[in-house]
Symmetry: C2
Subunit: 308 residues, 2 copies
């Protein structure tokens, strides 16, 4: 049974780890967000793809919540000592991956092919595709000005309220080879518990992807990233409050109108009426460990009428 999953970084990666515990990895295609990619120190960094790569191949630091386990920071320490850009926390092991990816891209290898090679080298059995090979970049409009995603998120600690979100480059982007095919070939489509605005919408903003989902012939189920109206981590709740008017499941579902048949959300969330055509599915969504992630993935597949 082919499963295609739209996913952002950390939360999405944990959900995917659960999913790979209940379905065959070879049947899973992940369409990853690349709109928070950045160039730093001359390197192309794809934080969401990397979170997925590291988490699904047992290399992530789950306690820190991002980056690689058993990581060190010597290169970046030196960069700082020499007056270079050290605001984006690149660990030594992590750097190795960015060096290889950047070399591939500079040699003309497209991002989806570079990602495939990295995934293969790391031993990932599922297929990981970037939403696009083209440079789509999220920009946040805030009272303090408009910022590229990582400037807002990392450098400014996402302290600025967001008035609007733009996906620069999206109109000119094309889905990466395999993305539309994976949506078309899916028996079920899932939207991981990721931030709708900065993880999922930038995937949908790539021309052709939203359309493919709107015209799907199979169930599509999203998982809310909120628990009790709150983000487990990050600014999803604050963004929903300001941009969608609230943090109930209905507000989350409003981000996915037309593309999902059901929304999975936590028992802690008030089950207000969802937008028309979106079925509520209540379960435990807090992924406290791999077992909890597995149960959430199973419940999500079940909601899609495709029990694991």
């Amino acid at each position: 049974m082919n499963v295609t999953v739209l996913s952002g970084g950390v939360g999405g990666a944990r959900f995917l780890r659960g999913l790979l515990g209940v379905v065959d990895a070879a049947d899973v295609t992940i369409v990853g967000n690349v709109a928070d990619d950045l160039q730093v120190l001359g390197l192309h960094v794809s934080p969401d793809l990397d979170s997925i790569l590291y988490t699904l191949t047992g290399r992530s630091d789950d306690e820190r919540g991002w980056g690689r386990a058993d990581e060190s920071w010597r290169a970046l320490e030196t960069v700082g000592e020499l007056g270079g850009d050290d605001w984006f926390r690149l660990g030594d092991r992590d750097l190795g991956l960015h060096l290889v990816r950047t070399e591939l891209l500079r040699a003309g290898v497209p991002l989806h092919e570079a990602t495939l090679r990295l995934a293969r080298a790391l031993g990932l059995d599922a297929r990981l595709l970037p939403a696009t090979d083209d440079p789509v970049r999220t920009f946040l409009e805030t009272p303090a000005g408009t910022f590229p995603f990582q400037t807002w998120f990392v450098a400014r600690g996402h302290r600025d309220e967001v008035d609007a979100v733009h996906y620069a480059g999206a109109p000119d982007a094309a889905p990466a080879p395999g993305v539309l095919e994976a949506i078309a070939a899916a028996a079920v489509i899932l939207v991981a518990p990721s931030n709708p605005y900065v993880s999922i919408q930038p995937i949908l903003a790539v021309p052709g992807i939203r359309d493919a989902l709107e015209h799907r012939a199979v169930p599509c189920v999203a998982v809310s990233p909120l628990v009790g109206g709150r983000a487990v981590k990050g600014p999803a709740d604050r963004m929903l409050r300001r941009l969608a008017g609230g943090t109930t499941p209905a507000h989350v579902a409003s981000c996915y109108e037309g593309i999902v048949d059901a929304l999975v959300f936590d028992r802690a969330d008030a089950s207000a009426e969802l937008p028309r055509g979106v079925r509520p599915v209540v379960t435990e969504t807090l992924m406290t460990d791999v077992g909890a992630a597995r149960r959430l993935a199973a419940a999500t597949l079940d909601a899609a009428g495709a029990p694991a």
Copy 2:
């Protein structure tokens, strides 16, 4: 008293460390070889400049003989794991410097200015100039083919005998700003105990530099890199045997004809007659520790009629 020194990497750096023990660092200008620079993993690496930077600021690993002390190799391990280029041994701390330098160069900062900034950040008091900002690159002609310097030296472990040496790009290169001025302003000019063919000649191959030395108004003294006809490390002896016909002080001096007034060499070396105009100066040249390097530097200055 202004001292200008032409220098390669490790041996030169150790000599320079001795020199800074006997003269004021503020009076010393180092003209460093850049013809063994390379692009690896998209980074601009200047091994000779870095050996000098690390050695003169107390950061070198003297036991290993190259690179930084307290170094680790996690980024490169990952590069290897991912199938990237890992033949050139870049440590994590070292990588930090290459990342910063490469960013500066990509932003249009010339190499001499980038080097100045790195030197300042590392606390180097002497002035370190690359021979040129332009890409001069050493190529070795060997029975197995013609190789770029680092391919021959590192990847192939300098096992191939050298039939000829070329300095690609040299005819079109210009001395870096400050180089000719430093030669003109020097009270004494020194040639460090470096490999004549791959460290010093590529400096002299930059149009204007050899000419400035030939027309010098002050003493210029070279230090032989051989002890008892043998290289302390590296292929200098094998290159001299094949390219100059032997490894005596006369053979070393033949590499510097017209530009040096004296050659400092070790007691262990036969004092055959030197080329006309080159005065022999016999002392202990093996730099077993910083004290020995200091004594060698003092003897060299003394030979130039400029006692420390």
